[in-house]
């Protein structure tokens, strides 16, 4: 469903992403890991449209994504949550979802909105001002909710769990696991926590200095000496 | 034909000097506070009218009016600073509206005090022509061009060498970091407004000495200054001078080749061109990261 061919992204002299090749099938859950600065968010930005790759191709459902303007990528089926939550200001939580749904799918399905609110446990905050009245966990949940409201075929989750304390984290993780069960969509998730990744994902891709250095099952990848070295800088596996 | 063009270039160059003073004043304030003082042109005009008043009532050379004009215009400038600093939120846009309002107040005040007649200097020495080869100009034009250059160099030296000057640049690029280093941003902002007033004063007296003044001129001057600031790009004083000269030359050429009505038009078009095609201005450095 999503195919990255030799995607390279350079900012001036800095190469953030270097010749990445990746394939995501339509209902896989794939983890994207790597040390800080490895280029993971930049890769997401290029798929969702905030950044233009210097070279390479991104094909989604046989559509050349790079020829599609940013605001149309949601209609294509690419949903994205931001690492630092970006709620739509001056709107309530419900209105955030309404706008996402109306413009991301072209129609309004109020039942679906309620379903998403329930699933992400935001129902009781539906009328609150999204930018000013939500706690961090709720803001993160809203990020996922907004993306879901656009009825995506592929969901890009960028460090959804970062910054949430342990109990909230466990609940959120359960939500993420149910996410795939309930909405059979492809998920590409950036996370740092190895346990989380191992439990959620059937496949893991590892990025280091912008290059893809491993692509396999969690067990394979996390026992790969190259991968371990990239995290610890250790010579010995 | 080419003589006409050469003359236009020369006149434009001379005019560019005063334009540069006006633009520099605007740029200083924009540099330290990131706001555009839409009343700046009116401050220049105020100085021009004070020079007129001095000459017509006291029968003295406009140059001698400079001390009085300095006091009045700098005071007005400080008042504008005071008002702007009272804005609570959305300072960038609200300051536009506020200074727009101040501009209206000043223009109408000038209208009320001095009526709407056109004035220009009656000083004979200023109006005498100075001929360089085949190029013709008035004594006043050349005098004030030299004055402008001197002032611009002084300002440039001051900004790059003196402590206050460096403080101004520090506040301009990173206000909070400057505070941590012990610089009081409010003082530097105040100073830039005062300096802006000083430059406006000289530009105003120059304007009176070789041009005509009328109350409506205020906003046209502000617009010219803004065009030059955009042409020059951020953070470049030589750029301001070059941009000012460019505008002066383009205006003079338009007047010669087409008509004087169109000279405003070419200024505007130049402005829009630069705004869209060269967002960093012709000479400006790229936005430096703090």
């Amino acid at each position: 469903m999503l195919r990255l061919e030799d995607v390279t992204i350079k900012f001036g002299g800095l190469t953030a992403v270097n010749g990445v090749n990746m394939n995501i099938a339509s209902d896989e859950v794939v983890g994207l890991v790597g040390p800080n600065g490895a280029g993971k968010t930049t890769l997401f930005n290029s798929i969702s449209g905030l950044v233009r790759p210097t070279s390479g191709k991104i094909i989604f459902d046989s559509v050349d994504v790079l020829k599609t303007p940013l605001h149309r990528r949601a209609r294509l089926g690419i949903g994205r949550s931001f690492q630092i939550p970006q709620p739509m200001h001056e709107l309530t939580v419900r209105e955030n979802l309404l706008v996402a749904q109306r413009f991301g799918t072209g129609k309004i399905d109020l039942e679906k909105i309620d379903e998403i609110l329930d699933f992400l446990e935001l129902a009781n905050k539906a009328g609150r001002n999204a930018a000013t009245e939500l706690a961090l966990t709720e803001l993160k949940a809203l990020e996922v909710a907004k993306a879901l409201a656009t009825a995506p075929k592929l969901l890009l989750l960028d460090e959804v769990l970062a910054g949430i304390e342990t109990t909230g984290k466990r609940r959120f993780m359960k939500m993420l696991m149910n996410l795939h069960k309930q909405y059979r969509i492809g998920i590409l998730i950036i996370e740092h926590d190895i346990d989380t990744i191992s439990q959620l994902c059937s496949r893991v891709c590892v990025l280091n200095f912008g290059q893809l250095i491993a692509d396999g099952t969690p067990d394979q990848v996390f026992s790969d000496p190259q991968v371990i070295k990239s995290y610890t800088g250790d010579q010995h596996a | 034909m080419s003589e006409l063009i050469l003359q236009s270039l020369y006149s434009g160059l001379l005019a560019g000097g005063s334009y540069a003073l006006i633009a520099l004043g605007l740029a200083l304030v924009f540099g330290t506070m990131k706001i555009i003082n839409l009343a700046h042109g009116e401050l220049v005009l105020l100085a021009a009218y004070i020079a007129y008043m001095a000459e017509s009532m006291l029968k003295i050379n406009p140059l001698l009016a400079i001390p009085l004009a300095l006091i009045v215009v700098c005071l007005a400038s400080v008042i504008v600073y005071f008002l702007v600093s009272k804005i609570v939120k959305d300072r960038e846009l609200n300051s536009l509206l506020l200074t727009y309002g101040v501009g209206i107040v000043l223009t109408n005040a000038i209208l009320l005090i001095w009526k709407s007649d056109i004035h220009s200097t009656s000083n004979e020495w200023f109006q005498q022509s100075l001929v360089l080869g085949s190029l013709y100009s008035m004594n006043s034009e050349v005098t004030f061009f030299v004055v402008s250059l001197v002032l611009i160099v002084l300002v440039w030296l001051w900004l790059s060498k003196s402590w206050y000057g460096r403080a101004v640049r520090a506040v301009a690029s990173n206000r909070d970091a400057a505070k941590l280093m012990g610089i009081n941003p409010r003082w530097t902002e105040l100073i830039s407004f005062v300096l802006s007033g000083v430059l406006a004063t000289f530009a105003g007296v120059a304007l009176y000495s070789y041009g005509v003044i009328q109350p409506e001129l205020g906003s046209a001057l502000t617009v010219k200054a803004f065009i030059i600031t955009v042409l020059a790009g951020a953070g470049s004083i030589p750029g301001v001078l070059l941009g000012a000269v460019l505008l002066g030359v383009v205006e003079a050429l338009t007047t010669t080749m087409f008509s004087s009505a169109l000279q405003e038009l070419t200024g505007m078009l130049l402005f829009l061109l630069v705004l869209f095609v060269l967002p960093n201005g012709l000479f400006g450095a790229n936005r430096r990261r703090g």
Binding site: V99, F103 | Y100, G103, M268
Partner: protein
């Protein structure tokens, strides 16, 4: 609650459409003031719409006003079009002119405001220079008046009042519709979180452009009305800065975040300026408006009337 709203509107309609003409119709001077203030009100509404929904502060409404005036005048004068359709086309003409401003949309706040100012000046100078078409600085004369419709002479003061009133009412309705639509929600969110809206599929650039077109259309149509109402047109008048300045002050005075605010502000400001300030300082009465603008920006940038209303509400609650 809904039925109360209909009652208020019905009462207002009766007052505006029936009582005002009956009571004021005899006083031609007052009537013309009211018409002029509604004209300003239409522009103020268009300005507020662009600022509120589009998120863009504009210093160039005069450009649209002038273009609308000239398009309508020329269509009726040179091409013999009937007046009312020509007015509509005046609005369309202004919208088309605003297309030239589309590149300015990607500029940040202050730069956009000033780029629009530059456009306004350019249009004014163009109108002066193309004397073959626009009659140059001398302007156009003999512009057709508003017609007689259903036996009702619209060119009379009362007739003109009804026309501009209806135009403004329609504008209010359009503003209201946009605001409560999903587009209105998206526009609201776009001010501070444009990327977040784009990622979920909002074509923010297109929406902003549409708001510019709507604002231009409204202002242009009002300009067209004005030219047929006073039968006078010349570049300095049609593109004069008063058409930019007074609506801005009016909108801020009345509260530009509400739908009725700009309109109420326009009527108030214009009437007070013409009836009181002008008598105090005949040649420079705009100075008071300037002072008012400065004070408002400092003390109540979202509008004077809303602040007063809040204070009033606060007092009555305390007493209750």
């Amino acid at each position: 609650m809904k039925q109360y709203r209909w009652m208020y509107l019905a009462v207002a309609a009766v007052v505006l459409y029936v009582l005002v003409p009956l009571l004021l119709g005899g006083n031609l001077y007052l009537m013309s003031l009211v018409v002029a203030s509604l004209t300003i009100g239409g522009i103020a509404l268009a300005w507020a719409l662009l600022g509120n929904l589009g998120g863009m502060v504009s210093f160039g409404q005069a450009a649209f006003f002038g273009v609308g005036s000239y398009v309508s005048a020329l269509l009726t004068l040179k091409f013999g079009l009937p007046v009312l359709p020509a007015m509509l086309l005046g609005g369309v003409g202004a919208s088309l002119a605003s297309l030239a401003m589309l590149p300015a949309l990607r500029l940040k706040g202050p730069y956009f405001a000033l780029a629009i100012l530059a456009y306004a000046q350019i249009f004014r100078i163009l109108a002066m220079e193309f004397r073959g078409v626009t009659g140059g600085a001398g302007g156009l004369s003999g512009i057709p008046q508003l017609p007689t419709v259903f036996g009702f002479d619209l060119s009379a003061k009362v007739g003109g009042y009804l026309v501009i009133l209806s135009i403004v009412v329609v504008f209010l309705w359009i503003y209201y519709l946009i605001r409560k639509s999903y587009y209105g929600l998206a526009l609201k969110a776009m001010h501070e979180s444009e990327d977040a809206t784009r990622v979920v599929g909002v074509n923010s650039t297109l929406l902003k452009a549409m708001m510019l077109l709507v604002s231009a259309f409204m202002t242009g149509m009002v300009g067209a009305f004005n030219t047929h109402y006073i039968n006078f047109l010349e570049p300095d008048y049609a593109f004069g800065s008063s058409w930019t300045v007074i609506p801005i002050i009016a909108a801020i005075f009345g509260g530009y975040r509400t739908i009725f605010g700009p309109l109420a502000g326009a009527v108030a400001i214009y009437m007070i300026d013409q009836l009181i300030f002008k008598n105090l300082i005949p040649n420079g009465h705009q100075i008071i408006l300037g002072v008012l603008l400065v004070l408002m920006i400092i003390f109540c940038p979202s509008g004077l009337v809303p602040v007063l209303v809040e204070k009033f509400k606060g007092k009555t609650h305390a007493e209750a």
